[in-house]
Subunit: 292 residues, 2 copies
DNA sequence: GGTGTTTGCTAACGGTGTTCACTAAAGCGT
DNA sequence: ACGCTTTAGTGAACACCGTTAGCAAACACC
């Protein structure tokens, strides 16, 4: 059984594979190796670069809209080009294929999510760590449920992408997103809010993985004990679980509104972290129409 | 902006929509309304029914193989038909489209997962509730990591299916799968292993959702308190989270082996349930080559 | 103005889901 | 055994999809 690269995915063909299988090296963004001859590298972008950047942004915007309107499977280069008044092959001057376009917008979306969380975080007094955490986590869920399609492509299985696609831009953005929480967690740690779990319940293998986790994610202030990293992982897993379950609608037929369950989980998680939980109403810095 | 039903997904077209939009009622399995005239309803299936059933099974088998080999996006009616030595339209005698085929195999996979868990459960002494739970949950993860593509389509976002697709068969199967765990949980409850959480931390909204959950899932032995249902939900969310995170490979670049983290979460969950945790080695009923 | 880069188009190939009209076969009743 | 009905499967067609190759116009720079 041979596989031949044809169309969108490699797909088995019944008959023999005629000729050698040539997997061409994909030129990432074609014909762009020579910069605008003049070395204006450090200076302001040339007119060409500006308009180029603009159309790339337009491509991504339309792709994004198609994503939310028709789901990940509904994003297609041809439809995007049609809407822009050009043809699909033209887009290859900007993106090296549908896969890389999806990766690009995924990276963008991580940026947006991070910004949304950061904005929520900044909207409360910076010295109130408890409230900041509470607000940030709620903002995460809010963004997720109001951006279901986006969340699914960011945090769901990579079902659309060909397996060999390079996803590092998205990973990078995801890493940066994670950093949003690390600083808050670091504060909790510094304030010694919660007791670290029993160290001898952490097997050597787990310790190794946790160390790798902390190192790769950059937040390895050298003193951080593995126990703390484990707590962070656990919390993240629980948050991820409850939000995924809501966005992927796996309890849909059984639970109409998932917010109460989320709040309950949130309460559990925070309590374990020594953070005071407040109900959504009581935690908003009430400017509730106090008539003066 | 009009949308026209064309090809796989509704997609916006730039030009006007010529003619009325006729959304034909999809006949579920065509030309099968009249049973084989003779009323052999209760008797053994007719020869026709048997061969029909056989080809349906073949279709699903091939689809399944393509799913694991090329991912969900790689399952196509044309490829399946090609492999069976027939043409794509012929498959419409058996399935009403690619979507319903995917739903069908999803339902099958829930059945297999449930069977795998049940088999693991049955492989340990039935009176040892602790070990049964431990084994069942580990079996769940095992199945998930050895059937990643399947797990992704079962528990991930419905990214491939058109939004209006009827997924009830899959949901039904999922519900049956859940029941695998309910009985075990019921035992825990009966044995009063863990203290129920504070009832007044459960808001009325949450209580209502939890009740609905229990009712719909059938395991509403009328005495079950909402507190217990909440514990069950929490556990399920955590299990779901850690397994999803592993299968969807969201910590891939940061953690090579996720098993230690899973075991750690498992330990946390079980401890909260009053179930004794045992490491994988110590929990296997050791027949470890004791030379006689 | 000439020259080289960049952009976008057309045409083409091979893939997809789905419908429709049709043939051939199988099953059933008499 | 014959005829009728129901079914299985085909081929052509339509509207999509991603991607490549070759070419012509637009642009930037000298």
């Amino acid at each position: 059984m041979f596989t031949k690269a044809c169309g969108r995915y490699d797909v088995n063909v019944a008959d023999e594979d005629h000729g050698a299988l040539i997997r061409r090296q994909r030129r990432d963004v074609p014909q762009q190796m020579t910069k605008p001859q003049l070395d204006r590298g450090a200076g302001k972008p040339s007119r060409r670069e500006r308009v180029r950047e603009a159309t790339l942004v337009e491509i991504k915007e339309i792709a994004r809209r198609h994503l939310v309107e028709h789901g990940a499977a509904g994003v297609s280069l041809r439809a995007i080009a049609r809407e822009m008044g050009m043809t699909a092959p033209g887009l290859y001057r900007y993106v090296s294929g549908i896969d890389s376009l999806l990766v690009l917008i995924t990276a963008d979306m991580f940026g947006e999510l991070a910004a949304a969380v950061a904005a929520a975080d900044a909207s409360v007094p910076s010295e109130d760590t408890d409230l900041r955490i509470l607000t940030s986590l709620r903002a995460f869920r809010s963004w997720a449920v109001t951006h279901r399609a986006e969340f699914a492509t960011m945090f769901g299985p990579r079902v659309r992408l060909a397996p060999e696609t390079d996803v590092t831009p998205a990973l990078e953005a995801g890493r940066r997103f994670g950093a949003t929480f690390y600083t808050l967690f670091d504060r909790l740690l510094a304030e010694e809010r919660f007791p670290l779990p029993d160290g001898d319940r952490i097997t050597p293998e787990l310790a190794r993985e946790l160390r790798a986790f902390a190192d790769t994610c950059g937040f390895s202030a050298p003193h951080i004990p593995v126990e703390a990293i484990m707590v962070l992982s656990t919390c993240w897993v629980r948050l991820y679980g409850v939000v995924c379950m809501e966005v992927f609608e796996h309890l849909n037929f059984v639970m109409r509104d998932m917010e109460p369950l989320f709040e309950s989980e949130l309460q559990n998680i925070l309590t374990g972290l020594g953070v005071r939980y407040r109900t959504p109403e009581s935690s908003t810095p009430v400017t509730m129409s106090t008539p003066d």
